[in-house]
């Protein structure tokens, strides 16, 4: 071990420490940005270390330099443009694409390693195990994340795409992939078989993601994030690099935790999400039992009624759901909160699955200038409902259904926002349609609930106008 190797290894350690501290700083919005910068610094140190090591070894050719710099700079430019331009509502698909390229890069370096060594010295069995794992996980993440991004963007149907024999194809791909991998592991370093494994893994990523519905995307994006982390950690095993192992492991843990949290918040198991065929898109199943009481026991209210209730309330809690994000109404919600805040306490109660990826709703509201101190997580929000005069539900359904507290129905046991504990409730909703669970929401027939049937954006606009008129007079 010479001085340069030691310095380079210490630099990787420093980078890994930076990543851990950065994630620690993300435990509060006040320090999170500092954390993100520290993490960036760690990354620069790691890249500088890698370059130093390469320069010191002096094995890189001029073409190698050109290829490396052109690739990295080109990729960086594309990444930067995407990060700068993306609308906050579209963040989930961009995160998915960054996931895909991370998994893709891990797969490519494993393939590169294989191709380089297969002709000559051969690959050690340890390197082979890690390489084969990466040429499976990497391509699965790559194609799976691209399909997920396509579904989020609307380029691929967000409905679960299930056709007869789909499961059979997935099973066949698994058998082919595993069989061919075993052949490689047995010491036959054939490029044809390698190609077969990569193709099977790419196809598997597609057949795995296609049957999963739009509503389950938060779970899928988190799971694929975890896969990419593991793929990168395995790449670290191939080249015996602690920076990669630690970085990848952190991401694997982060994605894994979020996957489980999201699945719990949806009242589903990760397995059932992956088997797919559930979340059906924006409106949920229209069929099913007739709408609650067919209008008999629900109370309709107008924008003016809603405005009067809120204008005289001293504490209002706004409950934004997926429908608010879908209608791009976060700016209206923020404006209403700002208007009401002149005479009342206004909070936002945010369920973990409100939005299209974990925590997405918070970002949308932060962009609309809602201070993060007003954004309450589920548990904190549930302490606030009993003292609230008005709870305004916009585009949220199943996550407010009190039936979840009783056993024996599809939402039983699902963590919900206790909206029904507020003194009065206003629901803005386009129709009496069902949520993803496909059942009636008992909140809507509660005598203290007023239903205001409208599009989220237009409805909030009318309420804001009415509140302003009331406050001014």
């Amino acid at each position: 071990m010479n001085a340069v190797t030691i310095a380079v290894d210490l630099a990787y350690l420093l980078a890994a420490v930076g990543f851990v501290v950065a994630l620690h700083l993300m435990n509060s919005p006040a320090t999170a940005r500092k954390g993100s910068r520290l993490s960036w610094l760690g990354m620069i140190v790691a890249v500088a270390a890698a370059l130093t090591s390469v320069i010191h070894d002096a094995t890189i050719t001029t073409t190698g330099w050109v290829v490396l710099l052109a690739g990295a700079v080109g990729g960086a430019a594309v990444g930067l443009i995407m990060a700068r331009r993306v609308k906050m509502t579209d963040v989930p698909q961009v995160v998915s694409i960054f996931n895909a390229v991370g998994g893709g890069a891990a797969a490519l370096v494993a393939i590169g390693n294989f191709v380089r060594l297969s002709g000559g010295p051969g690959i050690s069995s340890r390197g082979m195990i890690a390489t084969v794992l990466d040429i499976i996980i990497g391509p699965v993440t790559f194609s799976g994340s691209l399909i997920a991004a396509g579904k989020l963007q609307g380029w691929v149907s967000s409905r679960p795409v299930v056709f007869p024999g789909a499961r059979l194809i997935t099973a066949a791909l698994t058998v082919i992939g595993v069989g061919a991998s075993c052949y490689l592991l047995a010491g036959h370093d054939s490029i044809a078989i390698l190609t077969l494994v990569v193709c099977a893994a790419l196809a598997f990523g597609i057949t795995m993601t296609m049957p999963i519905g739009g509503a389950d995307m938060p779970v899928v994006v988190a799971l694929l994030n975890s896969f990419t982390g593991i793929a990168v950690a395995i790449a670290g095993f191939v080249i015996d690099n602690g920076g990669l192992i630690i970085g990848g492991a952190l991401v694997g843990a982060s994605g894994g935790i979020l996957t489980v949290l999201m699945a719990q918040a949806m009242n589903r198991s990760v397995i059932s999400v992956m088997l797919g065929g559930f979340g059906t898109g924006d409106s949920g199943p229209a069929a099913g039992p007739a709408a609650v009481g067919a209008g008999a026991s629900i109370r309709r209210i107008s924008a003016e009624d809603a405005a009067i209730q809120m204008a005289y309330a001293s504490k209002v809690i706004i409950v934004p759901g997926y429908g608010l994000a879908a209608a791009q109404a976060q700016h209206e919600a923020a404006e209403l909160a700002a208007v009401l805040a002149e005479h009342a306490t206004v909070l936002f109660a945010i369920h973990p699955v409100a939005g299209r990826m974990p925590g997405h709703m918070n970002v949308l509201l932060a962009e609309a200038n809602v201070p993060y101190t007003d954004l309450k997580e589920m548990d904190a929000a549930n302490l606030e409902f009993p003292t609230a005069d008005v709870a305004l539900v916009v585009g949220a359904n199943d996550v407010t259904n009190p039936a979840a507290r009783r056993p024996g129905n599809p939402v039983s046991g699902m963590p919900i926002l206790n909206v029904d504990q507020a003194k009065s409730v206003i629901v803005i909703k386009r129709s009496m349609g069902h949520g993803y669970a496909g059942i009636d929401n008992e909140l809507y027939i509660d005598p203290k609930t007023g239903m205001f049937f409208s599009d989220a954006k237009a409805g909030l606009g009318e309420i804001i106008a009415s509140v302003k008129a009331l406050v001014a007079s």
Binding site: V54, V95, G359
Partner: protein
């Protein structure tokens, strides 16, 4: 070889545990930036792209190294760019409106 494989496994398992401890403390308010930040961290795979480029000798090697460097570069810069852009939106009530996305910190 076996010793280093063993120490790699130790490192991986311990890092997963540290990750679990640290990440369970992140509030759900920040889960999207967290995911974007961890996304950026897995961009560290760029190191292997650098090593791949340094060992490349054939045109197939160069093509693989180029695409790997492109993907990894996009992952790193895009990931951090997006994370920072989201985090600068999270403000306290009293904070004055930031200019040019810059915030004194």
């Amino acid at each position: 070889m076996t010793t280093s494989l063993m120490s790699d496994i130790y490192m991986f398992v311990l890092a997963v545990l540290v990750g679990y401890e640290v990440i369970t403390k992140v509030p759900s308010t920040l889960h999207t930036p967290l995911m974007s930040a961890s996304n950026a961290i897995h961009g560290i795979v760029i190191i292997v792209a650098v090593i791949l480029a340094s060992q490349a000798r054939t045109s197939a090697d160069y093509v693989l190294a180029f695409v790997a460097a492109f993907f990894a570069g996009m992952n790193v810069v895009g990931g951090y760019g997006l994370t920072d852009r989201m985090l600068q939106m999270f403000r306290k009530r009293a904070a004055s409106v930031a200019h040019d996305g810059k915030e004194s910190s």
